[in-house]
């Protein structure tokens, strides 16, 4: 009797986990990918974040709350990852090689423009990149971004503005 109940509860929990993952993981991986520009790392980060958040909040009834916790955890874990420099080192290696290959050639087509911008976004300081992704991809208000990054809305505004200015300079071919 007891074992039947336990297996019933385990099955319900499993269904709930599946549902949570299907609903939230895709968006979370996209966010991590835009922050880190590496799909594999992004998936790892989201899996870690999911374990942490689902471990605590599986029984939350408000899906919006789960999403907010997951998003914040993804941003924090991405930040930790960058701080550990694992991503930065690999990224810098790749970028150095790419720069050596493409010295002197500025983007000439729309596709090249986008890839150039993508690279420039990756070269931004992490704080500016996170602020830009949360503002322009997640469409969050400055106040919401500030809440996730635990800073003031004015700081978010200035990080976005500086980041965009650096991107403009790179697109124009100026030294940032």
């Amino acid at each position: 009797m007891v074992s039947a109940r336990v297996s019933q509860a385990a099955s319900a929990e499993s269904t709930k986990l599946d549902e949570l993952y299907r609903r939230h993981a895709g968006g979370a991986v996209r966010l991590a990918y835009l922050l880190l520009q590496d799909r594999t790392v992004a998936e790892d980060i989201v899996q870690d974040a999911f374990i942490r958040v689902a471990g605590r909040l599986i029984h939350l009834r408000d899906p919006g709350a789960f999403d907010a916790y997951l998003r914040r955890t993804v941003v924090n874990l991405s930040h930790s990852y960058v701080r550990r420099r694992v991503v930065e080192r690999a990224f810098l290696k790749r970028e150095t090689a790419a720069a050596e290959r493409g010295t002197g050639s500025w983007p000439s087509s729309a596709l090249e423009d986008r890839e150039f911008l993508w690279g420039a976004l990756g070269r931004l300081p992490e704080r500016q990149r996170v602020a830009i992704v949360l503002r322009f991809y997640e469409d969050l208000a400055e106040v919401q971004v500030a809440e996730i990054l635990r800073c003031r809305p004015g700081t978010v505004k200035s990080r976005v503005s500086r980041g965009l200015e650096a991107l403009r300079q790179e697109m124009r071919g100026d030294q940032p």
Partner: protein
């Protein structure tokens, strides 16, 4: 070329499509999450037990201070009977308050507080000084009793507290009621009080002092 804001917005949306919107939960991840849930539940359970045990221990300690009496329950005022016996000694009165355990085995430790009352049943708080002094066994130079400062009392066994009172000059000489406070418990009315318990007046300008010793095994 559009402004970089729009370009960035478009780029991010386009790049996001590299990732499919709905991902299936990998089986290994499901196991890891379940393990985490179980771990969290375990941690919460342990925390609740620790907090509850701490609260229970604190409450018990507040009531009876069991840790200070080496595992034996501390004697409570409800199970103690106090009787004093005083006699004259060079301008003062000295003697003991004997505390008898009327219940199951328990222990006493420390120095009790003594309160004396006037005829109106008010505690006398001015003109008198209470001083903690050494136990009788130290004064007498006898070996330290086993277990002291914890005094363990089986049923009907008793402990004693040394008292020495000097210079009582208040007009109404009688102090008809005394109470002895048991650490961690309540107070016990002391029996055997009469006016002869009060010492003579040696000088109204001199302080009245009551010396109180710690609990010690009753020699008798």
């Amino acid at each position: 070329m559009n402004d970089v804001d729009d370009q960035v917005r478009d780029l991010l949306r386009e790049k996001a499509h590299d990732i499919p919107p709905n991902l299936e939960l990998p089986r290994s991840l499901s196991t890891r999450v379940r393990r985490r849930i179980a771990l969290n539940a375990f941690a919460v359970t342990i925390m609740v037990i620790v907090v509850a045990a701490g609260a229970f221990g604190a409450l018990r300690g507040f009531r009876s201070q069991p840790s200070e009496t080496a595992g034996t329950e501390t004697c409570t005022s409800a199970h103690l009977r106090a009787i004093t016996s005083m006699e004259g000694a060079a301008g003062s009165r000295e003697g003991t308050i004997e505390l008898t355990n009327t219940s199951e085995i328990c222990a006493l430790k420390g120095t009790p507080a003594l309160t004396i009352f006037d005829h109106d049943q008010h505690p006398i708080v001015s003109g008198i000084t209470f001083v903690s002094v050494a136990p009788q066994w130290q004064v007498a130079g006898t070996p330290q009793p086993p277990g002291w400062p914890v005094v363990t009392l089986a049923q009907d066994e008793s402990a004693s507290v040394r008292i020495r009172w000097s210079n009582w000059c208040q007009e109404d000489n009688a102090t008809p009621r005394w109470q002895i406070a048991i650490p961690g418990s309540g107070k016990v009315d002391v029996e055997g009080i009469d006016t002869t318990n009060s010492p003579p007046c040696n000088g109204p300008d001199l302080p009245s002092t009551i010396e109180v010793g710690p609990f010690e095994p009753n020699e008798g």
